[in-house]
Symmetry: C2
Subunit: 382 residues, 2 copies
């Protein structure tokens, strides 16, 4: 191919782009936050992604810039574009993944189904939202949250008073838009779903089948693809939501749309991620094109690959670091021997408690057995 893709951020998402980059003949360069990160093999630079000079020096040597995370500041993104280097997803799209208030307003404009929400600037406004929505609500910081951080279920405004105080003192991190928290209706969902789509700059959009995600403590624990017990209508609606958001927000690269399915059969948009996402790791072994390969194709504006599943069912279970330090190596062989049909993916990260250090994929036609095999293999590491 001869193309050079620069990835800002050296975590496991960048790491998992290495394998498809090699196969596609794409040169991958990674600007890592520090030495020895998950994507160390492709790390050609180490530096602060908030430092415009560092990022520009990295960007000038590549054909396109993309990301392992969504935290690169808007002015740095603008500077890369001004230097003539394409950025995918671009800052106009990425702002909606960086700011949940902007995202809610934009989805409303696009007519996407979502929980009732409001920007609440103080405890009085939060109390009004609570009064309107049955006395409980989800409160989120507009910026900076992930994996359950920056999210609280509250039944009184005082439960968010520290966040309001921080807003008053420091702002929301974006400067100009004034400080507000996002209050959302506490949705009575029966399960959580995720829709993966990819869009290339010239407009082509493709969707994988919607998946069910199981969260534990605010962190994705398991994924089943496609989402079991799903009507054709559900699958179609979820895909359409993904495609409309990708198009409406001008996303380039991978987009993950986290969804609630409610007891009254509605689908509501929960969160967006504009990059490969944990809920799409099943595609590495379960789909004809993985989200990592597709992300590279999309940011290079290459034709997108076939998103159809390779097997009837795929299951992904995350490996979280357990209390035992350094135990990953020893247990690998035992897990492989006991569960030869699964694929164990590791991230080259030290196993600290609760930290995502790998995942296990299983694919086949017996869903119960796949769930068993994937969980049992994972258990060796925890």
């Amino acid at each position: 191919m001869g193309h050079v893709v620069g990835v800002i951020g050296g975590g496991q998402l960048a790491r998992m782009m290495i394998a498809p980059a090699v196969e596609l003949g794409v040169e991958l360069r990674v600007l890592a936050e520090e030495q020895g990160m998950s994507a160390a093999l492709a790390a050609t630079g180490v530096g602060d992604y908030r430092d415009q000079d560092v990022v520009l020096a990295f960007a000038r040597e590549v054909d396109v810039i993309t990301f392992d995370h969504e935290h690169v500041p808007h002015d740095v993104l603008r500077a890369i574009l001004a230097a003539g280097v394409p950025v995918h997803p671009g800052p106009d799209a990425l702002q909606y993944a960086q700011d949940k208030l902007l995202m809610r307003a934009k989805l409303e404009e696009l007519g996407m189904p979502q929980p009732a929400w409001a920007a609440v600037h103080d405890e009085t406004e939060l109390q009004a939202f609570l009064d309107e929505h049955g006395g409980r609500a989800v409160v989120k910081t507009a910026r900076g949250g992930y994996d359950g951080k920056g999210v609280r279920v509250v039944s009184a405004p005082t439960e968010a008073e520290d966040w309001f105080a921080a807003l008053a003192e420091f702002g929301d991190g974006a400067g100009s838009r004034g400080g507000a928290l996002l209050a959302e209706e506490l949705v009575d969902f029966t399960r959580e779903l995720a829709q993966q789509v990819a869009r290339r700059p010239s407009g082509e959009v493709v969707a994988w089948p919607v998946v069910e995600t199981v969260q534990r403590d605010g962190v994705c624990a398991e994924v089943i693809a496609p989402a079991p017990y799903s009507s054709e209508k559900l699958i179609e609606v979820a895909a359409r939501i993904g495609v409309e958001i990708a198009t409406g927000l001008g996303v380039t690269g991978m987009l993950a749309v986290e969804l609630f399915e409610t007891s009254d059969e509605r689908i509501l948009v929960n969160e967006l991620a504009m990059r490969p996402h944990n809920s799409g790791h099943w595609t590495q072994d379960g789909a004809r094109t993985s989200q990592f390969e597709q992300h590279l194709r999309a940011v290079l504006d290459l034709p997108l690959g076939d998103t159809s599943p390779r097997e009837e069912w795929s299951v992904m279970v995350n490996i979280l670091g357990g209390p035992a330090e350094g135990a990953l190596d020893d247990r690998f062989a035992a897990a492989m021997a006991a569960h030869p049909s699964v694929k164990i993916h590791t991230y080259g990260k030290a196993p600290r408690p609760g930290r995502k250090v790998g995942h296990v994929n299983a694919a086949g036609d017996d869903l119960d057995d796949l769930v068993y095999q994937a969980r049992a293999a994972t258990a060796f590491f925890q």
Copy 2:
């Protein structure tokens, strides 16, 4: 995993180990022959694999040594072992892949089916072999041949006189065993097959289904997996031959056994390769465990992965460099757009005429369509 695998040789076989190494959490280091080779991403050293000091310095920093090719001299292999670093495959096994006369004698000892053969030291002995076998024979140099090089079909001893002269002057490259060529019966085969097996040092051996290989000009052009129109007996016999050779020769890592199927339904061993092999590239997209992942597992003595096919049929077609220089990049997007179901693998090599620069894999249940899609995608590059 925390293991470090050192690969001697920086070609596409080393390159294709990078992707599974990343997923397995194995650190791959490559000693490349020169800068900018196919496996450049993992190349940590550049140097001559015949230079014992160079190789030893490389080997001392890894947990196990393996290969991209079979050309590392015996004394260098012995020196690595003497330094306490495991070598897989080891020199005792590798000698049979390095010397075709040794291989024929060992297979005879193991009772493996193979063409009639003889070590011929001069034109008189070759004439005697020709007289015995219908006036035509295949003559091979014992050492150094690949991809059709070092192989001739002859009907008179004079057609090999330059090789006999070279033997007399330079020896066969191995020193002590005296100079001889290998003469083989010209087998009336109906097709060529290849059997992939993997063996780990502690003894476990696994086999993939036997495949059909189509050669053009002595170079592998296409592979169909499993070999079409094969009886259960054929599949079983081929697998057993592979397993017995791997065990009998003490191979560790991947072994490819190239086979002839004759019109009278015999299977005869043609050649051996003790590494991932072109005839096994289909496993990347068509089998639950690819030969590259399996090779890493095997040389690290880890439990071997499931070798079952992911689809009913898999087809691999090589991309050979055509007359147009540098055309690979431009044609990639067009090939992807026209054939979204195939997987295009590239080696990062300049496309010189006849040089293997990539391959296309297709997998599914309609064999005719797969062959069409894979060939048509390949045609974009040639």
